[in-house]
């Protein structure tokens, strides 16, 4: 009886929790099809706000810049984060390890206003002394994003490496492969799914960042979050609802596809395991 009551409680809270997470987003989508200019007052169905959104050149430019920053950021963050993760798990003790671990975990929880302010002051100081970066914009935003994204990638790689059996690496070593060969031929291919996950995470983190980008950007470089923020500060806008709907749609499709691929891979692995057992 107690068990039944407990599971009843758990099911209710979970349903409420999921509803709490999703109802606001569903409303956001619904109101994007509202004819009325006043967002939460329904005035009939219309898709005109999508037209308004697509006609805006500002929006296209911001989307372009954000995607460019996110792609370059994700690629560099994946490389640097993988190296950092490898060093943390496989190198044992080395000089400066505590400092290194600190610099990897701190960006995960550092308030964005502090990271943003400090990076901007660094760029200004660098410009004063070495004349670079002469203009803030794409480059400075990307560098700032790499700095915090690589920490997330490092954490993913770290947990993958820690959970990975070392027997393949040891086998290669026993067969005479040098450590470098083991890294390039065994460890990195095994890490590939983790690196891909890191790339995707770094990509979305970059697309999502408002604060750090607004600190380190310069005149003319407007990312999508900066544009959205400048518009919603003044109140609700139906065209932003339309934009939100598109973003939610893209993310939902992406996550579903990723889940499907993962599901199929797992099925495949189970099948292979079964076959090898039978053989």
């Amino acid at each position: 009886m107690n068990n039944a009551r407990r599971s009843y409680f758990l099911i209710t809270t979970t349903c409420f929790g999921i509803a709490f997470l999703y109802v606001p987003m569903i409303l956001l989508v619904l109101y994007s099809f509202n004819k009325s200019r006043i967002v939460p007052v329904w005035g009939g169905f219309s898709t005109k706000w999508y037209g308004v959104l697509f006609e805006s050149e500002e929006v296209w430019e911001a989307v372009g810049l954000s995607l460019k920053v996110a792609t370059v950021n994700a690629t560099f963050a994946m490389l640097l984060g993988t190296l950092a993760g490898l060093a943390l798990v496989r190198f044992g003790r080395f000089r400066g390890r505590t400092l290194f671990t600190g610099m990897i975990t701190a960006p995960l929880v550092m308030p964005e206003v502090i990271t943003g302010l400090s990076l901007l002051l660094l760029f200004i100081t660098l410009k004063e002394f070495i004349g670079w970066p002469d203009q803030r914009g794409f480059t400075t935003i990307t560098i700032a994003h790499i700095t915090f994204s690589m920490a997330y990638v490092a954490v993913i790689i770290q947990s993958r490496l820690a959970g990975m059996a070392q027997d393949l690496e040891e086998a290669a070593q026993d067969l005479g492969a040098k450590p470098f060969r083991v890294l390039t031929d065994i460890t990195l291919p095994l890490l590939a799914p983790g690196m891909l996950a890191g790339w995707l995470l770094a990509f979305t983190l970059s697309l999502d960042d408002l604060i750090i980008a607004s600190f380190v950007t310069g005149p003319g470089a407007v990312t999508l979050p900066i544009l959205i923020y400048s518009r919603i500060r003044l109140g609700l806008r139906p065209d932003i609802n339309a934009l939100a709907t598109i973003i939610i749609l893209v993310v939902a499709i992406g996550v579903l596809v990723a889940a499907w691929i993962m599901f199929r891979q797992q099925k495949q692995r189970e099948l292979e395991l079964k076959m090898s057992e039978e053989a």
Binding site: T14, P40, L80, I114, M150, I211, P225, I248, A252
Partner: protein
């Protein structure tokens, strides 16, 4: 290290190939150093160095110039170095009530939000862990999905819900529960809702990761030994899940304390939070030294929770 046979082939191949070979060797022998050096150098330059610059500027005086602060080190005519350190900015933070109040208010809001996140997130994480295989994966995906969509737009969604003419007020008036719209947007209430809404996945995921590794037969053992569910919860479940509770709470508490977007969009001018003061001090008042001092003071407040979080992370990876 090179065998005699290898040495012979390289000398025969000429100097260019020899240099190339040397470089390859260097990469092979020194790759560990390179693997470490690249990310290490990046973080030193772009993560650690900036903090020293913030510290340096927080010790300068505000001047109307470009850059708008006084230099720390000046060279006077005869090569005499003049070091100027001003603690006025920190004294100013200390003396002006506004800053103390803002710091305390930020800590209050982030603490209460953390507890609210825990109250919402704990039963959810528990339910996800105890669910059957398929449900578990669906629920986990549902919790993670909002995290991949825009943070800014999720806060914006609540502007539409909480506004005077927003969905909640319209609904309540339509049902007849209230006659006039309640003021919800631009109040502390809206800030709490916004923080809990956007940060609750950060609470659920570490709790889930912790709970999944637990030995649940211990609960059955407790029940078999006659413990009532409530006793089991407080003596077995809660202590076992404590690492997850602490990790999740820190992941909510630390960033929430410095939050800018939520108090700005949902709290308006009515809710004082330190992240917002820092942003405005820098961008609107262009007072870099005071903004830097605010940042350093915020960092001092958060350094203990941050170290605790790092300690837990390190222990977690070692355990794996």
């Amino acid at each position: 290290m090179s065998t005699p046979a290898e040495a012979v082939t390289t000398t025969e191949a000429g100097p260019k190939a020899r240099i190339l070979h040397r470089l390859m060797r260097l990469a092979q022998d020194r790759w560990r150093t390179l693997v470490l050096l690249v990310p290490f150098a990046w973080l030193l330059l772009f993560f650690l160095a900036p903090f020293f610059i913030v510290l340096k500027i927080s010790l300068a005086e505000t001047v109307i110039a470009s850059p708008p602060f006084t230099p720390m080190i000046e060279w006077i005519d005869d090569g005499i170095m003049h070091i100027r350190v001003v603690i006025d900015n920190f004294a100013y933070l200390w003396e002006d009530d506004l800053y103390a109040k803002t710091y305390l208010n930020s800590l209050k809001i982030s603490s209460i939000s953390t507890i609210l996140c825990l109250l919402v997130g704990y039963p959810m994480a528990y339910a996800i862990v105890r669910a059957n295989h398929t449900t578990k994966h669906v629920l986990l995906m549902l919790v993670i999905l909002p995290f991949w969509t825009s943070f800014l737009l999720r806060v914006y969604a609540w502007m539409g819900l909480l506004a005077d003419q927003g969905t909640i007020n319209n609904l309540l008036i339509a049902i007849g529960i209230i006659d006039e719209p309640m003021r919800m947007l631009y109040t502390p209430f809206a800030v709490y809702v916004g923080i809990v809404y956007t940060y609750v996945p950060f609470m659920i995921l570490p709790l889930y990761a912790n709970m999944e590794k637990l030995d649940w037969t211990l609960l059955e053992a407790a029940a078999d030994l006659g413990a009532r569910p409530i006793t089991t919860f407080f003596t077995v479940t809660l202590p076992m899940t404590m690492p997850g509770i602490i990790a999740g709470s820190l992941l909510v508490f630390i960033p929430a304390t410095g939050e800018y977007v939520i108090p700005d969009l949902l709290g308006g001018g009515n809710v004082l939070m330190i992240g917002r003061v820092l942003y405005n001090e820098f961008n609107a008042n262009i007072d870099w030294p005071v903004a830097s001092a605010v940042a350093i003071a915020l960092l001092l407040v958060l350094v203990l929770p941050m170290m605790l979080y790092q300690h837990i992370q390190a222990k977690e990876t070692e355990a794996e």
